[in-house]
Subunit: 350 residues, 2 copies
């Protein structure tokens, strides 16, 4: 009794199954092609026929089957947002949420649907690869790419329209969008210099990611630009996690007990560093000034609240989506990378 409907001769009142384009055509007294033309907004339809079709559609509550359409047009009207979660950052960082929001917003006016694909391990990567090869999406958004990520290359080979948030390296051939990581970091460090700090350490992100190395570069360039030597032992590698920030901070304090400022490449790491500084009896900002990156919620709620470099993450989501539209429509016409500006939000920690 799972399928309760009984089939009558005609599609009797109750409407057992969903109406098809054929039902509509019969009702409107026209051919299937005419209905199809109305659906696709073709101008080669008389007003008379058009209104007949439209009323039939309304009466039958007809919605065209996108599956059938996809089969013949070989478009799917959907795109994939791929998020690698090897570092399980989705939980700790609102970054991905903001990207998702931006993407979804850009999608709002269109007919496109969003497929969200989290990739945790090799098995899921294989499955994704098959999924992409099967042509189940018209385009792909790739977030948080690593230097040696195999996915962008695969997508290039497949010829599937792709846009990255971030980049593998400075020579990224695929269209992409990223924040001005170098500039933002440099501004943060210059801010610390302006506050009279002289021994400025940095906790970096993963250095096999462009975000990681670029923010480190910003730190270095700002110091060099100020005529200060960029002492490489003031660099401690982190991994964007709180625990990583804590450990990096501990290492830095051991090597440089007299450091008076720290620039962390993410707020979450800064929060970890903050805890470690407190544990070591350092006052923030009196003994050590601290600046983070992202301007996430945590930045507002630490004590003291955290000076941080704000990036427009939602805007990144919007922009990659719009670039993807272009890629899909005209196939990689203008592939200039887009760089979004950052801004320094000064709070109590510096």
């Amino acid at each position: 009794m799972v399928t309760p409907r009984q089939e009558r001769g005609q599609p009797a009142a109750g409407g057992g199954r969903r109406p098809t384009i054929k039902t509509v055509a019969a009702r409107a007294g026209v051919g299937r092609t005419t209905v199809s033309r109305v659906l696709n907004g073709s101008p080669l339809v008389s007003d008379e026929a058009r209104t007949a079709v439209l009323t039939a559609i309304a009466e039958l509550n007809f919605v065209p089957s996108s599956v059938a359409r996809s089969l013949v047009t070989s478009r799917t009207d959907s795109i994939a947002l791929v998020i690698p979660e090897s570092e399980s950052r989705l939980g700790s960082e609102p970054y991905f949420s903001a990207v998702i929001r931006g993407v979804s917003e850009a999608l709002a006016g269109t007919q496109l649907q969003l497929l969200l694909i989290l990739v945790r391990d090799q098995r899921e990567l294989d499955r994704l690869q098959e999924f992409l090869t099967a042509g189940r999406v018209d385009g792909v958004l790739l977030v948080s790419v690593h230097r040696d990520d195999p996915l962008p290359g695969l997508l290039e080979e497949l010829g599937l329209p792709t846009v990255l948030a971030g980049r593998r390296s400075a020579e990224e051939p695929l269209p992409h969008v990223h924040s001005d990581n170098v500039g933002g970091s440099a501004e943060a460090v210059r801010h610390l210099l302006a506050r009279g700090r002289s021994e400025i350490a940095t906790i970096t992100g993963p250095l096999d990611m462009d975000v990681g190395s670029s923010r480190l570069r910003g730190w270095r360039e700002a110091l060099v630009g100020a005529g200060a030597p960029a002492d490489e032992s003031l660099v401690a590698p982190g991994d964007f996690t709180e625990e990583g920030g804590r450990l990096a901070m501990r290492a830095l304090l051991e090597r440089h007990p007299r450091l008076d400022a720290v620039f962390a490449a993410s707020d979450v790491m800064a929060a970890g560093a903050l805890a470690e500084l407190r544990r070591a009896g350092r006052q923030v900002p009196d003994d050590v000034a601290l600046v983070g990156f992202d301007d996430s919620i945590v930045a507002r709620h630490t004590e003291p609240s955290l000076t941080s470099v704000r990036q427009q993450v939602e805007e990144i989501g919007r922009t990659i989506t719009e670039l993807l539209f272009q890629e899909i429509a005209c196939g990689g016409s203008a592939r200039f990378p887009v760089v979004l500006p950052t801004s320094l939000i000064v709070r109590a920690s510096s």
Copy 2:
């Protein structure tokens, strides 16, 4: 060597398009039906034929078109996760991220894909409705439902398998999963009572949502259970936002300058309340003890750190997904709601 094979005979060289089941059949020297049987793991295939087909598939790098399959099976092998964003909570709350992670995890072993649909306004709701009527997904996960939400009713009418995270009311007919909101809140309040607090206020969530009213009920029940009168003027409505928490706290302080504890129905609101308490010169926890709900990142980073009721959000995501599997497979067999336990995490604020 990306597309190595050129086909002799029929589809002239180039190998331009993806291979179809027909190509595979020809190569393996069998009929289309046999290939289809192999693909679907039917036992009615000789070992000989099977291996022939499998090697042909491997050589041609064949991936079946899920679109064509959907057309005939009328399954889409994808489900939708619908998130209403009218309150734009996705940004401020890691709640949705955690649900997404749980859902994605439960999906990992299956062939199902996840469609993420954020609904911001009426226009997007209409579009969603059309989308669902078009049968573009096999099932729907609905998160954060309001009492008078039109969506669950629509889905019931459509007969589309649906599972809710949360519920419209205590009499929710649709299968659903939620945290023990009443129990968790009650535990929080009992904890405050045990700490010797006597004038315990509460900042609620939206009261047109079950999470909101249930957490309020927990507060009330704990007080009544302790023989204390539940003074309704100690209730201040919030909206799960930081600003809402701040305003609610201000109102409470005006009405009850001598209150000595506050239970907020979310960490984010608690953070807002905390800021307002500090502004008003109250010490936490000395003058006023504070407890939140969710145990999100903010709870660990406020100063003082926040005592909070932890709920297993990721588990909610996993569970609704598994329930949806059952709904899709056997059509609403066991529709008992699942209630997940909460636990109180005590920190410095109480």
